[in-house]
C-alpha cells in the first residue's frame, strides 16, 4: 500500500453515484478488483475519519495510465463532500488496501452479483475476468434504476445479464438474490462473486453453500483506519480447521471473504447473545463461545 497525494481529474455524475477519477500511478499499478482506497477528509471538520471506497477501475495502459476510479454514493457528510470535490483538487489517498478477489484457475463460468455501489468493484472484476478469458454473467440490482450500476457496460462485458430493482423501476422487482437460483442454473455458474448489502450477500452465501459453488464476497464493515491498525472492522470468520471462529479484519484479511466461512447471524447482530453484564459506563469484554 502507498500513500499518495492524488489529483482529481474528473467527477462524473452516474445515476445515484459520482465517479471520481484520480491520478495515482503507484496505486493504479498494483490495484486489483476487490481492493479499496481510503481517502482523507478535509481539515477542520466534525467528521474526521478517512472514508473507504472500492476501486472501480485502474488504468495501467493507454491514455489514462496511472489513473484510478472509484464510485461514491453520497449518503452522509463525507461522501457528500467527495461528490462535490472539484477537479484539480488533491486528495490524500492510501491504497490499494485489502485482499482482492481471487481469479479461478480452471473454472470458467463466473456469475457476478451486485447491488448498489457493490457494482463498482464487480464491474472492475468482470473486466479482469474477461481479460483472462472467463465467461462472465451478471446480476445487477439496486434500490431504483438510478442505483443500477453501469448496466450498459455490463451488457457489453457479460454473456447474460439480469437486473432487479427494489422499486421495479428497472428489470425485475425485488432483489438480485431472488433471481440467483434461476440464474445459477441458467448460466451454469461455476464460481459466484458478489458485492453489495449484507442481506443480499448472505442469501448468495446460503445458495452457494447449498449448491456447493465456490464463491467470494466483498464486505463492507465500518473501518476507522482501513490499514489494519485499529481492529474496529472485524468480521467473525470460522477457522479453517473448524475449531471455532476468529475476528478477522475486513481491511486487511478482507474485504473479500469466502462467504461459507462467515458467521452471518453473528456478524449481522442477530445471534442470541447473553445479556451484557452491566457496563456501568465502561465497555465490557464479552467472550464469545466459538
Amino acid at each position: 500500500m502507498k500513500r499518495v497525494r492524488a489529483e482529481v481529474l474528473s467527477v462524473r455524475r452516474l445515476g445515484a453515484y459520482h465517479v471520481l477519477t484520480i491520478v495515482a500511478p503507484e496505486v493504479a499499478e498494483r490495484a486489483r478488483p476487490g481492493q479499496f482506497l481510503s481517502v482523507a477528509m478535509p481539515p477542520h471538520r466534525a467528521f474526521l475519519l478517512r472514508r473507504h471506497f472500492s476501486i472501480h477501475q485502474a488504468s495501467r495502459r493507454g491514455g489514462w495510465a496511472g489513473t484510478l476510479e472509484f464510485a461514491v454514493e453520497a449518503q452522509g457528510p463525507g461522501t457528500r463532500w467527495l461528490a462535490e470535490v472539484k477537479p484539480h483538487r488533491f486528495l490524500d489517498v492510501i491504497g490499494p488496501l485489502g485482499k482482492p478477489f481471487a481469479y479461478p484457475a480452471r473454472l470458467t463460468n463466473c456469475l457476478l452479483v451486485c447491488e448498489g455501489h457493490g457494482g463498482a468493484p464487480i464491474s472492475f472484476l468482470a473486466q479482469e475476468l474477461r481479460a483472462r478469458g472467463k465467461r462472465v454473467d451478471m446480476l445487477i440490482g439496486g434500490a431504483t434504476h438510478d442505483h443500477v450500476f453501469k448496466p450498459i457496460e455490463a451488457k457489453r462485458m457479460a454473456q447474460t445479464i439480469r437486473i432487479a430493482t427494489a422499486d421495479g423501476s428497472m428489470g425485475e422487482p425485488g432483489s438480485v438474490a431472488d433471481l440467483l437460483p434461476e440464474m445459477v442454473e441458467a448460466v451454469g455458474a461455476q464460481v459466484v462473486y458478489a458485492a453489495g448489502p449484507r442481506e443480499m450477500l448472505r442469501r448468495v452465501a446460503e445458495l452457494c453453500v447449498e449448491r456447493r459453488i465456490p464463491s467470494q464476497v466483498a464486505l463492507e464493515e465500518r473501518m476507522a483506519c482501513g490499514m489494519g491498525q485499529c481492529f474496529t472492522c472485524v468480521v467473525p470468520v470460522i477457522r479453517k480447521d473448524g475449531s471455532g471462529y476468529d475476528h478477522l479484519r475486513a481491511c486487511t484479511e478482507g474485504p473479500v471473504f469466502n462467504p461459507a466461512r462467515i458467521l452471518w447471524d453473528r456478524w449481522m447482530g442477530e445471534a442470541p447473545e447473553p445479556a451484557p453484564t452491566p457496563p456501568e459506563g465502561f465497555p465490557v469484554v464479552r467472550s464469545w463461545p466459538g
Binding site: M1, K2, R3, A40, A46, F47, L48, L49, R50, D92, I94, E221, R222, M223, A224, C225, M227, G228, Q229, C230, F231, T232, C233, V234, V235, P236, Y245, D246, H247, T252, R266, W267, G269, A271, E273, P276, T277, P278, P279, E280, G281, F282, P283, V284, V285, R286, S287, W288
Partner: protein, 313 residues
C-alpha cells in the same frame, strides 16, 4: 537570534525515548503489521493491550464516528502474549523503536503472568498497566480503575514483580482521578498514562440500536482533548515528580505542546494515527519547531510551564 538546537530526547522513569511522541496502545495493531507508519520515526510504540491468551474481543460493529471524535470498543482483541512475542515483537525490535508493552488481564494473576513473560524480552523498555481493562475477577466487568482497591492491587503486584518501569494507564475518572493516580504511584507505579478515553454511546435512530455492539464504547480523538488536558493538568499539579504520558485527542504539534505545558513529560497519539499514519512524525516536528521558536532546549523545558493566573509561574 542564537539558534538553539533542541534535543528531543525525553527521560521518563529512567527510560530514554528518542522523541516525546509515542504511538498509543491499540492504534498501531500489535505493532508488527505492515503499515504506512515509519516505526523508526516514532519515539516509541505502546503495544495493543496484551492478555495471556489470545482474545477475540467484542463483536462488531465496533466503532462509530461522533462529532470530532471516534467511539470504539474492540474488547481487548489481541493475539495473546505468545502470539505477540512470535509475530510482532521481532519486527518492532528490528525497527529499533522502544517498545512499551501494554498489559491487561481479567484478574491480578493474569496481569502477573503477562508481566513475567514480557519483562525480560529485549526491546521492551517499560510496561503500561491498562487499568481500563474489565475486572472479570471481582468487578463484574467494570474496569480495574473504577475501584481504587483493585487498581492498587493490580499496579502494586505488577510493580513488585517488574524489572521494568511501570506506567499505570487510567481511564477518565470523575471526581477521583487524582486520588486514584496518587494511589497507583504509592502502590509502586513509576509513571502514569492519562487518559484512556471516556465512555460514550452512539445511537442509530433509524434502526433503534446502539451503533456499537458493546454497546458502550470509549470516546477518543479531538473531542476529548480538553478533558484529557484537564486530567493531565490536575494530576501533574499534584504529582509533579511523576512522569506522565499525556494522551487524548492529540493531532498536531501544537496539541502536543499544550499537553507538555499542562504537565505531560511525553505524549501518545492514538486516533490521529488512524487518520494520518504520519501524524506522530508531524507532531514531533511541530514540537521541535515550537521549541526552536521559543528558544528552548528540550521538551522537558515545557513541562508544567502553564502559568495559571494568581499562582506563581
Amino acid at each position: 537570534m542564537a539558534g538553539v538546537k533542541p534535543t528531543m530526547t525525553v527521560d521518563l522513569a529512567g527510560v530514554a525515548f528518542p522523541l516525546p511522541v509515542l504511538a498509543a496502545s491499540g492504534c498501531l495493531g500489535t505493532g508488527g503489521e505492515p503499515t504506512v507508519v515509519d516505526l523508526r520515526r516514532l519515539g516509541g510504540v505502546v503495544t495493543r493491550s496484551l492478555t495471556l491468551e489470545p482474545r477475540r474481543g467484542a463483536p462488531t460493529p465496533r466503532m462509530a464516528e461522533t462529532p470530532s471524535g471516534l467511539l470504539s470498543w474492540t474488547g481487548l482483541q489481541n493475539p495473546g502474549v505468545e502470539g505477540f512475542l512470535v509475530e510482532d515483537l521481532p519486527r518492532l525490535e528490528q525497527a529499533g523503536v522502544p517498545v512499551v508493552a501494554s498489559i491487561a488481564g481479567g484478574g491480578v494473576e493474569e496481569f502477573l503472568r503477562v508481566t513475567s513473560l514480557l519483562q525480560h524480552r529485549p526491546g521492551i523498555v517499560a510496561l503500561e498497566v491498562y487499568l481500563g481493562a474489565p475486572d472479570e475477577e471481582r468487578g463484574r466487568g467494570r474496569p480495574f480503575a473504577a475501584r481504587l482497591d483493585r487498581a492498587v492491587e493490580v499496579v502494586g503486584a505488577v510493580a513488585r514483580m517488574s524489572r521494568l518501569p511501570v506506567f499505570a494507564k487510567l481511564p477518565y475518572l470523575e471526581p477521583d482521578l487524582v486520588e486514584t493516580a496518587r494511589a497507583c504511584v504509592r502502590a509502586g507505579a513509576h509513571g502514569l498514562t492519562l487518559i484512556g478515553g471516556v465512555p460514550g454511546l452512539a445511537v442509530d435512530a433509524e434502526r433503534l440500536r446502539p451503533e456499537l455492539a458493546a454497546p458502550i464504547g470509549l470516546l477518543s480523538g479531538p473531542a476529548i482533548k480538553p478533558i484529557a488536558l484537564a486530567a493531565v493538568h490536575r494530576v501533574a499539579r499534584e504529582l509533579p515528580e511523576v512522569p506522565i504520558m499525556g494522551v487524548g485527542g492529540i493531532a498536531t504539534g501544537r496539541d502536543a505542546v499544550e499537553f507538555l505545558l499542562a504537565g505531560a513529560w511525553a505524549v501518545q497519539v492514538g486516533t490521529a494515527m488512524l487518520i494520518d499514519p504520519a501524524a506522530p512524525v508531524e507532531i514531533a516536528r511541530g514540537i521541535l519547531a515550537y521549541l526552536k521558536d521559543k528558544q528552548l532546549e528540550s521538551p522537558a523545558a515545557l513541562r508544567g510551564r502553564l502559568r495559571v493566573p494568581g499562582t506563581s509561574p
